[in-house]
C-alpha cells in the first residue's frame, strides 16, 4: 500500500516536472484563451522552437542567403522562439483580458517596457518589453494588438540590442530610420 502510494507520488512528480519543463524555457506563458482563438482566426501562426530546435535549424541555414545568414546570427545565442499570431475576419474576436494576462507577467523588475504605442484612431496597440539581466538583453516580448490581428512574440536568450533594431529592417521589411523610406534605383 505504502509502496503503491510512493510510486503514485513519484509518477505525479515526474508528470509535474515534465509539464514544467517547456514552461521554464519560455519567458511568458501564453494564456489558455489564446489557443481557443485559433478556432476563430482566419489565419494562425504558432511557432514553438526551443534551444535544441534552434541549433538544429541553424545547421540548415544557407550562409549564401542574406536572410539565413542574418537569422543564424540572431538565433545563435537564443534559447527559444515562441510566436502566436492570429488574424481575424472581423474586429473584437479576441479579448483584451488575454493581452492583459500577458502584460501582467511582464511587471517584474527584470522586464523593462522599451516602447509602447496606443492609437485611438485605428486601434493599434503595440508594446516591446526587454528582459535585462546583468546589463544584457536576455529576452524580448513583442505584443501587437490590432483590431484584426493579435501577435505575441517571445524571444528567449541573449539578444544583441543592435540586432533588435536591425530586425526592423530585415527579412524583406524595409528599415525605418525616422524618415520616409526611399527605394533605391527608382
Amino acid at each position: 500500500m505504502i509502496r503503491n502510494l510512493s510510486l503514485q507520488f513519484a509518477a505525479a512528480v515526474l508528470a509535474a516536472a515534465s509539464l514544467a519543463l517547456p514552461a521554464s524555457a519560455q519567458d511568458i506563458k501564453f494564456p489558455v484563451g489564446l489557443d481557443k482563438l485559433a478556432a476563430k482566426a482566419k489565419e494562425t501562426v504558432d511557432v514553438t522552437l526551443d534551444g535544441q530546435m534552434l541549433k538544429w535549424a541553424s545547421k540548415f541555414m544557407d550562409k549564401d542567403k542574406e536572410n539565413d545568414a542574418e537569422a543564424k546570427q540572431i538565433i545563435q545565442n537564443l534559447k527559444g522562439i515562441y510566436v502566436r499570431s492570429y488574424e481575424f475576419e472581423k474586429e473584437g474576436e479576441y479579448s483584451p483580458s488575454d493581452v492583459e494576462e500577458i502584460r501582467s507577467q511582464l511587471q517584474s523588475p527584470t522586464w523593462q517596457h522599451m516602447v509602447g504605442v496606443r492609437s485611438k484612431k485605428d486601434g493599434d496597440n503595440a508594446d516591446v518589453y526587454v528582459k535585462m539581466e546583468n546589463g544584457q538583453v536576455n529576452g524580448l516580448v513583442v505584443i501587437a494588438a490590432e483590431p484584426h490581428e493579435l501577435t505575441i512574440v517571445n524571444l528567449v536568450g541573449l539578444i544583441d540590442p543592435d540586432q533588435i533594431s536591425s530586425l526592423g529592417g530585415e527579412f524583406g521589411i524595409p528599415k525605418m530610420t525616422g524618415r520616409p523610406h526611399v527605394q533605391k534605383g527608382k
Binding site: L49, M53, D124, V128, I173
Partner: protein
C-alpha cells in the same frame, strides 16, 4: 505442236533432271571420318568439366557457412544503409521545417517592430510639426 514450246519443255525437263541429280549428290548419306564420335564425346566431357559450377557444387556453395554469413551481412548492410538514408532524409526535412519556422518567426517579429518603429517616427514627426 509449236516447236518453241517443245524446246522449252525439253529444256525444262533437263533442268529438273540436273536439279534432282544435284540434290541427290548433296543429300547423299556419307560415312563420318574415323574417330568422329569419340572426338565429339571427348569434347562434351571436356566442356562439362570446364563449366563454372556444377549443380552439386552450387548446392555445396549455398551450404557454406562463410558464404551464407557474407550474404546475410550484405543484406544487413543494404538494409541498414537504406534505413540510414531514410533517417537522413527525415532529418533533412525536419531541419528545413525548423529553418522555415525560424525565418517565419523572425519575419513576423521584424514586421511588428518595423510597424512599431513607423508609428513612433510618425508620432515624433507629428510632435515636431508646428501645427
Amino acid at each position: 505442236m509449236n516447236p518453241d514450246s517443245f524446246k522449252a519443255n525439253e529444256s525444262g525437263r533437263m533442268s529438273e533432271i540436273e536439279l534432282e541429280s544435284a540434290l541427290r549428290h548433296t543429300l547423299r548419306s556419307e560415312q563420318p571420318p574415323a574417330g568422329f564420335a569419340e572426338r565429339i564425346l571427348a569434347e562434351a566431357a571436356r566442356r562439362e568439366q570446364g563449366s563454372a559450377i556444377s549443380a552439386p557444387q552450387r548446392g555445396q556453395l549455398i551450404r557454406m557457412p562463410g558464404l551464407r554469413f557474407a550474404a546475410a551481412a550484405a543484406l544487413l548492410l543494404a538494409t541498414s544503409l537504406g534505413i540510414q538514408h531514410r533517417a537522413q532524409q527525415q532529418e533533412q526535412a525536419q531541419g528545413q521545417v525548423a529553418r522555415e519556422k525560424v525565418l517565419l518567426a523572425l519575419r513576423i517579429t521584424s514586421s511588428k517592430l518595423h510597424r512599431l518603429e513607423m508609428r513612433v517616427s510618425q508620432l515624433q514627426s507629428d510632435d515636431a510639426s508646428p501645427n
